[in-house]
Symmetry: C2
Subunit: 338 residues, 2 copies
């Protein structure tokens, strides 16, 4: 067994098991002289290279990385809380990296993590991630990776997501049942699976209720709040404006509120609003905001659990897991029927 | 010159300049045998330690690190935007680390950065940072570091902050002028300079207006929203409750709103609220929240500018800069006089 070997090695060297283990995984806490001595002895005592290499890979850094795109977003705050709970149980440290919705940042962060600095990686993609070469490279480097919420759609990536399509449908249907006849869908431009699925759910609800689909009511927004407000203002100022807004992300709901304040449009009397959101202040807004709330904490936990199963090579075989958790509609005043 | 030396060293060793440079900065890409050989030769050839260290530090990674304590906080989102603007001008990459208000995370992140992975570090401290040993270690490792917003108070650290004391005074005085007679100050427990100064400003405003200071009205909150709500509920439920709340951080204002909703206390009629905050939804809340808004974007810019002056050793001499930017009071309905 590798444990016995480590003990024997430590005895022979007159070092603690922990120091030997740290030296073998090239920890900064151990001097280079000691590392050399440990490696030489490991070789001399024929410390089995294979389990040793595996051991090295196994608990090299006792750290996992979390890569998230956005900071001022309560979904990610809660997801990280969930990740921390599991990491703490496992005695792992969590390093969190922000990509700031910037694909170049995402690429270089992923490259940085390829070097084997961490034992596993949890990633949620940027809005403008257009190529997945960096992701396949990371996969091939052998570091276990789990994607959560904003995930690449290819089969080869393990993912933890929420039921975006069903919730897009549920949110839109909720607006229809509250009396809306003309519902706009606010999307973030790009290739994000979440956005695509939420929009498809929106379309499905229209079909289900025999409302013709009008592509002009699907508004492609950006990461620029000012530009988004201008787009939404234009949409809500024209004749025959929509009487319902389905915001696929939280910041577009906030922009809608600002626009309605600005042009004195009453929510929910003149326009009803539903948004995907884990906003802390959703129920404190004027009016309180009806949300599709994602189980962010649980998504974090499930992602970390899956990652640790991959790190520990438990019960997975060659399966690539795709876990889907349910979100829920929380009805508040912004979508109240009159 | 240091360039010549590195070249000579590389020639003597029969290695590429890049390999020698990597070995000298202890890169994981270079084996420990080679590193030893390079270090020995550097010593033998009397490779000047000082310019060597400086050269190494200069454009080693073309990356700066930003270490922040909290994710769901718009102050940090804006500050990072400001940092990015300057970093982009300089052609630097920004790696952002989250410590999640956890001192242990902060310690290990700082240790991780000591290895010379980045050319400079911007840090905002955790709420429960009690020791500064890791910060003095980082300073001594030679990596340029600038602290922003939540900073250690010692003279040796360059800092960029806002006028916390003056704004604590301004916020409290604003409540007094709006008619409040009994003002509570909601603080986050711990040693953060920001909290301490905001509280001292609160006390100064009371003194200025001849209102006796009651230590029972200074509420030490935590990072636990549930516990904070219980504390605030107790405070606002008892007889002779405060008629004004000065929240030194945003999340305590949000908790106050939830409590007031819960126990049906009208803001601003029965209790007025002012908070330090860069909340995106401040003006959308019911009622809209009067805030002390920090110039978060400018703080980020100024911090990054100072850091790059340190990295480039421009116009600094032995000075340690302490930059203070002004925050402003944005009056909204939560503190309206009746």
């Amino acid at each position: 067994m590798s444990g016995t070997n480590l003990k024997k090695l430590a005895e022979e060297l007159g070092l603690s098991i922990s120091s030997v283990s740290k030296a073998l995984r090239d920890s900064y806490e151990i001097g280079s002289e000691t590392k050399k001595r440990v490696l030489a002895m490991a070789e001399k005592m024929n410390y089995q290279p294979n389990p040793f290499a595996r051991g090295l890979r196994k608990r090299k850094s006792i750290t996992i990385a979390v890569v998230i795109p956005e900071i001022a977003n309560n979904f990610f705050a809660l997801a990280i809380d969930g990740i921390q709970v599991i990491a703490q149980q496992k005695g792992y440290h969590v390093l969190t990296y922000l990509t700031q919705e910037d694909f170049k940042n995402e690429e270089s962060t992923v490259k940085h993590l390829q070097g084997g600095r961490v034992d596993g990686v949890l990633i949620s993609l940027c809005g403008n991630t257009t190529s997945i070469k960096h992701l396949t490279d990371l996969n091939q480097s052998g570091v276990p990776v789990v994607y959560f919420d904003r995930v690449p759609d290819m089969l080869e990536f393990p993912t933890v997501t929420t039921d975006d399509y069903e919730c897009g449908l549920k949110a839109t249907e909720h607006l229809i049942l509250a009396g809306c006849k003309k519902i706009a869908c606010l999307c973030v431009a790009g290739f994000l699976s979440t956005t695509q699925k939420r929009r498809l759910g929106y379309e499905a609800a229209l079909v289900k209720h025999n409302i013709p689909f009008d592509p002009k009511l699907v508004i492609q927004c950006s990461n620029e709040n000012t530009a988004n407000r201008a787009l939404i203002k234009k949409l809500l100022s024209k004749k025959g404006r929509p009487d319902g807004i389905f915001a696929s992300v939280e910041k577009l709901a906030i922009s809608t509120y600002y626009v309605c304040n600005d042009i004195k449009l009453n929510i929910p009397k003149q326009v009803k609003v539903v948004s995907f959101s884990n906003l802390r202040t959703a129920s404190l807004l004027s009016p309180s905001l009806t949300t599709i709330a994602q189980p962010a904490f649980e998504i974090g936990k499930a992602s970390a659990e899956l990652l640790f199963r991959m790190i520990e090579k438990k019960n997975l075989g060659n399966r690539i897991e795709k876990i889907v958790l349910q979100s829920s509609l929380i009805q508040r005043k912004s979508s109240a029927a009159q």
